[in-house]
Amino acid sequence: MHATRVLSIMKNSWTGGEATGQPAGGAGENLAVAVHRCEAGAFERLIDQFERPLFNYAHGILQNAFDAQEVVQDAMMRAHRALTRQYDEARCAALALRPWLFRTVRNLSLNKRRSKRGTLEQPLENFDDGRLGPFLSRQGSELERKEEVELLRRAMSLLPVDARELIVLRFMEEMSYAEIARTVGQSEAALRGKVFRSLKLLRDALEQKGVAYAM
């Protein structure tokens, strides 16, 4: 019904200083303006700061390093174009840079994923909210630890895409729920439930892969 109102809310969710208070976003606020003003090296600094986390996120969604690389590069070019040519200075100054970049990568990754395969994985609804169960990390040799990481990786790839992306954002990039909410466009309350369910799914997947658990 109120499509324009929803749009304007979405648009406004990028402005306002609250989310820029995050550690990575603290310098980011000035960075967006610096890029807008074409200061020497500003865009390079932006790449340095965000390339790895964005790649990690795209990889979490796509499970493919080559595609992730392509998405990140595309996102960087788009971000640069937006900051220098589409947004005025006030909008750059008010921009929550980190969630904005992550959202760009998210959209591009999901587009890529959609264009690559037609099948949709199980959505992250309808799972029970019982106890998670502990994960027994084996304090073993180097080899065993590598094995464990490999198992984890495979377990991750079994998860539905929204679970993967939440695990990446929350536990690898250590985003706050407020920032994740801006990135994926859902409420914090909904996300709390989904993050928990994602962890539970990951643990179940690990069990399937034969990692030992205490009950």
């Binding site: 590069q73 960087m76 991750m156 536990f171």
Partner: protein, 286 residues
């Protein structure tokens, strides 16, 4: 608070992201409920283990994103990756300033990839350059389309501004198209000198008409003939044997024998006389 609600709030509690009321409620529940209390350590454990899965890109996208410039012969060339993005006949500072204005990016001096250097050199020498590697992606729609279209005008031939406007689907925007061509960011490599006014002659050029004339003559265009046809208001030539009409510089038009050559002032005249437009130079929309 129920166990179900508590479990989903455990993770937010770790980072103190819950509203104060919920925080106290969850904490008091955790003190009394053993099952939920155990889940706190479950979440902690999994959360710390998952971090090991962080992946890093094998190479940075910086080189693809970095903008560089180098000197080639008498000009300065800005490029990114393997695409030419701007050419300036001024000094390095001119190029930097123009580049920042157009693309909003700073330039660093770096050696130009060898294939690109050869291509620019060939273009400056007036040798045939097939499909110059230009990167026009960041230009605006019309500018992008127009410059792309210019690369399709063959060496030794000319087209009119109106033709370019029509080919990019903006037949009435001749003036706008001409402005874009006049501000060509990659002169010589994208042959903006091969576009002339419909009324005849060779028209103006960013580096002066004399330069345009020299460039065209070097490519084998008979400029004097063009000017003569212009004075006679002849825009197209047709062949009496094939009943096809072309732009005068079309490679097929130049093969028409003198006795079979029919001049036309207007495409409609040609069509009325039963001639059809050439499919190569497309004097009329296909």
């Amino acid at each position: 608070m129920q166990c179900r609600s508590v479990l989903t709030r455990i993770d937010a509690l770790r980072t103190h992201e819950l509203p104060p009321i919920e925080e106290t409620a969850v904490e008091s529940h955790l003190k009394t409920c053993r099952s939920c209390g155990a889940s706190v350590s479950d979440v902690d454990e999994l959360a710390s283990v998952v971090k090991a899965l962080t992946v890093a890109p094998t190479r940075s996208c910086k080189s693809e994103c970095a903008d560089s410039f180098d000197r080639v012969g008498d000009v300065f060339v800005a490029f990114r990756g393997s695409g030419i993005r701007m050419i300036s006949t001024g000094n390095a500072d001119d190029l930097r300033a123009a580049y920042a204005k157009r693309y909003g990016r700073a330039l660093e001096q770096a050696p130009i990839p060898e294939p690109l250097r050869r291509q620019v050199e060939a273009a400056l020498e007036g040798e045939g350059v097939d499909a110059p590697r230009v990167d026009l992606e960041e230009l605006r729609d019309l500018e992008h389309d127009v410059l792309q279209m210019l690369t399709r005008i063959p060496r030794g031939q000319v087209r009119t501004y109106a033709w370019v406007a029509r080919q990019v689907g903006r037949p009435r925007a001749v003036r706008a198209v001409a402005n874009v061509i006049a501000r060509n960011v990659v002169p010589f490599v994208v042959p903006c000198h091969r576009v002339v006014p419909s009324v005849g002659g060779i028209g103006n050029y960013a580096f002066g008409s004399a330069m345009k004339r020299a460039l065209l003559e070097r490519e084998g265009v008979d400029v004097e003939e063009l000017e003569r046809l212009g004075r006679q208001h002849v825009r197209y030539v047709g062949s009496r044997t094939t009943h096809i009409f072309c732009f005068p510089t079309c490679s097929d038009a130049r093969r028409i024998r003198e006795e079979n050559r029919v001049p036309f002032r207007d495409a409609d005249d040609a069509l009325e006389d039963g001639f059809r437009p050439c499919r190569k130079c497309q004097p009329v929309a296909a």
